[in-house]
Symmetry: D2
Subunit: 337 residues, 4 copies
Amino acid sequence: MIVILKENHDTEQLENLKNWLKSLSIDVHVSTGRHQTVLGLIGDTTVVDADLIRALGIVEDVKLVQEPYKKANRKFHPADSVIDVGGVKVGGGRAVMIAGPCSIESEEQVCGIAESVKKSGAAILRGGAFKPRTSPYAFQGLRGHGIELLLEAKRLTGLPIVTEIMDLSQLDLFDNVDLLQVGARNMQNFELLKELGRLKKPILLKRGLSSTLQELLMSAEYIMASGNEQVILCERGIRTFETATRNTLDISAVPLLKELSHLPVIVDPSHATGLSKLVKPMAVAAIAAGVDGIMVEVHNDPPHALCDGVQSLTPEAFDSLAREIEAIEPFAFKYTK
Amino acid sequence: MIVILKENHDTEQLENLKNWLKSLSIDVHVSTGRHQTVLGLIGDTTVVDADLIRALGIVEDVKLVQEPYKKANRKFHPADSVIDVGGVKVGGGRAVMIAGPCSIESEEQVCGIAESVKKSGAAILRGGAFKPRTSPYAFQGLRGHGIELLLEAKRLTGLPIVTEIMDLSQLDLFDNVDLLQVGARNMQNFELLKELGRLKKPILLKRGLSSTLQELLMSAEYIMASGNEQVILCERGIRTFETATRNTLDISAVPLLKELSHLPVIVDPSHATGLSKLVKPMAVAAIAAGVDGIMVEVHNDPPHALCDGVQSLTPEAFDSLAREIEAIEPFAFKYTK
Amino acid sequence: MIVILKENHDTEQLENLKNWLKSLSIDVHVSTGRHQTVLGLIGDTTVVDADLIRALGIVEDVKLVQEPYKKANRKFHPADSVIDVGGVKVGGGRAVMIAGPCSIESEEQVCGIAESVKKSGAAILRGGAFKPRTSPYAFQGLRGHGIELLLEAKRLTGLPIVTEIMDLSQLDLFDNVDLLQVGARNMQNFELLKELGRLKKPILLKRGLSSTLQELLMSAEYIMASGNEQVILCERGIRTFETATRNTLDISAVPLLKELSHLPVIVDPSHATGLSKLVKPMAVAAIAAGVDGIMVEVHNDPPHALCDGVQSLTPEAFDSLAREIEAIEPFAFKYTK
Amino acid sequence: MIVILKENHDTEQLENLKNWLKSLSIDVHVSTGRHQTVLGLIGDTTVVDADLIRALGIVEDVKLVQEPYKKANRKFHPADSVIDVGGVKVGGGRAVMIAGPCSIESEEQVCGIAESVKKSGAAILRGGAFKPRTSPYAFQGLRGHGIELLLEAKRLTGLPIVTEIMDLSQLDLFDNVDLLQVGARNMQNFELLKELGRLKKPILLKRGLSSTLQELLMSAEYIMASGNEQVILCERGIRTFETATRNTLDISAVPLLKELSHLPVIVDPSHATGLSKLVKPMAVAAIAAGVDGIMVEVHNDPPHALCDGVQSLTPEAFDSLAREIEAIEPFAFKYTK
């Protein structure tokens, strides 16, 4: 951490600051220039609250040199983490296919899709029961009943399941869910993150719509600092000025997150683009960039899906995508330290 | 709502769509061009799910003509709403000053500041008990104990109080809080919004960091559609590429929200800019633009505030700001239909 | 084009508008609803100035249905355009490698790199002579002398060359340059675009830092409308809130531009990310998404490059990248109508 | 400037770097921590190219501590600059009104508006002759003839004039123009900036649509470093995700620019919002925040203006705005060091 002091700062206050930092086991190196004096803080600066320092009367600015996350940081955990989702390894070298309907609508629908995507090679079944919708008048999901239907599909196919939790009050319903998803809009719902950190279950954490990668990793750190280190990161598109797609899939997040963190990284091209025609090119691009998994929406009747059908693949299109991913994966970029 | 059809669409499917729309009491006018056929949907289109239409095989795109919010919409409620916060009218013509510390730290601190800001003209006391912090290692607020201290300051000064709720599980602690704040990061925490819609209390809804005004109004609509129409909107800065300020205060949101909605609008220059030196110019600018209130951080010892001290005013600076607001308010812009 | 009228609009003014539109050979279909009247404009609406309509007293809003570009629009030119750059076909099915130094520094440097990248399979040589730099105190390029050195490398290797033009006054120096680059900061330098539209040479048009794809295509339309249809589009990263990379490479621009336009599309992963370690994963991802070419910075001594060295590959790293692109290309996504 | 070295950096290379910096009269202070070694560069670091340092093999990152602009920097020029525009002082304490049509259309139009806005208190006449338009098919301005008409209005009223220059080839036409405007899309047209820096005329520099304030000041620095210190800065709205306005007027830019620089600052609420109904509230807000001037579009027949009429005021509305500005100005925020 670098602390830039104001010109003509009070020297007694500077001594107080240095003594306080020393009490936190932080060494302070002082560089004095003509216009500026700069403090270099050496040691484990994650214990120092940068906002607190910035607020001091003698301080002009604070610049972070070290990443503020520890448990999610590859520097302190060089080996890739492999997360076990109901027996499926995520982060273990082979890209994992997660597929299923955006919204769960009926037993026939979810079970039919589950069997179909399993046949095409999907390893985990996705399906939305609680749906975050911008409008209170839009379909909000089958909620508890949706989870029951998803569990039925799990029993039928043996596929582990992932679905979104929107509030702590829903937690009991997720007992038999293998992977709990935190949606983009909840990435900084810190109370939810802390509570999920007390579970013994893998969490799929989606990047917020205008979040930086560091903010995503700080949210992962919330879960991990509470004791649960089974976190899978998900890039699902960020908000940009482009209007031709719903959001912009940031594929550079894949190699960057692999470098900054040891956690597995997946992408969701369906939500990122909002357009089924872009799912295939973006999925193969993400595979080429070295992603650990792809989460894709599949619907047996996309034009009639209750929500977001415009971004769903048919089972046939998903099967074709799975074949292309199989073909391209051997040539994918591999992160190495 | 305008529905743009694909070239060479199936005419039977078009008939099905028109019949379905008619069953929703929507009239459909068809305009046929050389390259495009366009449907104009006439009637109460808030009952039509645009995503559903967009997902149909024959549809190329959907464009909204009417605002998707009703209860928050000034078109259907031309008169200004006035919200009563513990006896203080917000939206009633005079700008209201809301002031207090970012974080509640101790009884002395919050009571001292409360007395001081009351003397300067503040009508509502603010103070943070539950603090949303990016880092799990940063101070998270005094939580339940913080609310007790805030209630103590309310008893002492008679000022109604506002503080942030971060999760439904905290609701019982807010029984005697006059105004419940939903923070920017929770603006689209839809489960929280729905539950707050079942209360009989005013809600202060902050705009999300990268939300449009329509999204803010849709979140207000969530609260209102559940039965609680006492909503105050708050502009608190949006994320932009500028790095000299924490966020960019969007003052044009004030006259725009007044036009789009009948709900009162306040601004928070402290959080928006993150810099105490900008609080005064931005507060007077917002007053000039016709805002219904200003929420400002005041700390008796800004350099030692536990969080965000860099954006707090001293009680003296707040008093000076209050005098300037008093002087400029008679010349402020007033929205008229 | 859809024109939404104000409630209680003047009927005489509406007649005037309809008559004026008819004089432009535009048919007008009127849909009258309870709250809104909507006009559907049918015909070649690219001749209608939407701003002009929006400015009329009776108009509330205008929504575009048809793309405002014609010559760049795939709807009117279904077949892929193939651009000939000094004998090299861009857009002809195989991805083209464009490589070379960020800044031209000396004859030895540019010729050495040219020979090396040619050996690795590069088909076009790039090199910066005029350098747009944020600071007036930073190195501005060798300018005219830089172009002479680049021409020397062309003579030596036979590779066609591409370099950036920053102002019309430099045009004479570009006589023997095969492909003229318009930089991101000049994407909306309309006077420059118009003049380049009078040349008989291919133009490489880079997307602006916060431009939409439609704006990029409108800038291509400027060049094409002036008579020069040899335009290659280049995605080079857009500005987002992410700070870990210089910009965010928008790979979804590749399949989208292929759908919207018949023009070839290349990407520049070096400038987009600003980090040499991300060039390989992003280049292979773009290839997988179906791009027509990759433009990469190569420097024989990246740590001493005069500008932007941090994003340059060594010749060895470029050779390795070229091998991986060769391996992955057969499995790339191919756009089909 | 702070230079963060890679772990396990080569010590000989570090010595080379330190020696090179010393040759530039830069002192280097080294702080060695467990995970990181940090160099503090002390002296006039504007001569050091940060990109060059960042590109070195031993360097992980570079952080700027000092602003990279000198001539525009208030630290080195504490007193406000006052720019003389044809006898009108901009930055001299009183806010200046600049008004006129978006596009010049005819002698009657521009002269009529000029007389009218002069009567209402405008001190400088604006009018567009060269118009930057997104579409090549939209009206591009009367160009040279437009400037003649503007000069006619100057002769008639005695008002100094401001109009936009889009390319160096137009320079001769601007001989009698008092203030040359650089538009937002040309803010980083560095060749144009350098050439304007060789003139002896005031330049009105508009902030780019997604530029930071530091980038704006670096562009001012380009003009000033070439010898012309008569620069007026203009905030005209930045691109955000909001769609209800064309851009978002960043009023916090006013007090921030006053603090960072000694140059005068004006705002353009007409272009920023694109909506005439927002011009008044945003203009008075900017005045309250301490701006040095307001540039407003006025048209005698807004609904028929050839471009951007939707954002123009009538002469009557402008007169009313001028009265409100007069009333509110005595209560405006004043920047003091």
